[in-house]
């Protein structure tokens, strides 16, 4: 089965849109190349596993430099910034994040040629993980 990525132009919170503009310097990210793996349903929003990977040869001439992760409806959208180098051999990182409620998680990648790509995926959260 194929899961279609949610379009980059889909609705998002103004704070998230602003955080993405800040990351890209105002450049519009394209869809594609970025894959975000998260559980579709998170029973506990305190610890939601996340894997982000980007389709890239990771050579000195052509690699992923930076990957930003945003959570659209958390109290603040910033989650993480990964700084990658060709020494990794593959563009990937894993971590665990907090999600306060059901929302989209967004990844934006900057390539060494300056292009930006984006992916977003929805996670349904049963018990929110941002404390109260």
């Amino acid at each position: 089965i194929t899961v279609l990525p949610r379009a980059a132009g889909a609705q998002m919170q103004p704070a998230t849109a602003e955080a993405i503009r800040k990351a890209t310097g105002g450049k519009e990210p394209q869809d594609g190349r970025v894959a975000l793996r998260l559980p579709p349903i998170a029973e506990n929003g305190n610890t939601v596993p996340l894997t982000v990977s980007v389709d890239s040869p990771m050579t000195a001439a052509d690699h992923v430099k930076t990957v930003w992760i945003f959570a659209d409806k958390n109290p603040t959208p910033d989650v993480a910034v990964f700084h990658l180098t060709p020494a990794l051999g593959r563009a990937q990182a894993d971590t665990r994040m907090r999600l306060g409620q059901t929302q989209d998680v967004i990844a934006v990648a900057q390539m060494s040629d300056g292009a930006f790509y984006m992916a977003r995926t929805e996670v349904k959260v049963t018990i929110g993980g941002c404390g109260g």
Partner: protein, 110 residues
Amino acid sequence: MATPIGQPRVRLPAQAKAGEIIEIRTLISHVMETGQRRDQEGKTIPRDIIKRFVAKFDGQEVFAMDLATAISANPYITFPFKAEKPGTFEFTWTNDAGEERKATAELKVA
């Protein structure tokens, strides 16, 4: 006052083949206090997080991460690395107060 940074744990394969892409898994004990919670008296518990992780191989930075309050307690970070030659990894976690915790690991390449 910042919570002391807990014990770091790092896992990588005992030995890698030259050219193989291995996975490096790291975990560090830390509360990752968001600054959005209140204590029983209703006072805000101040933010206190690990805000940066850096991995160096033989002195060269190969991977880094800026962490925000949305990263879970006891931050777990995994990343790949292409094993070309033996060497030493140095991992550094830094908290909001600028305190550091370091760990090292040897990469053996057959």
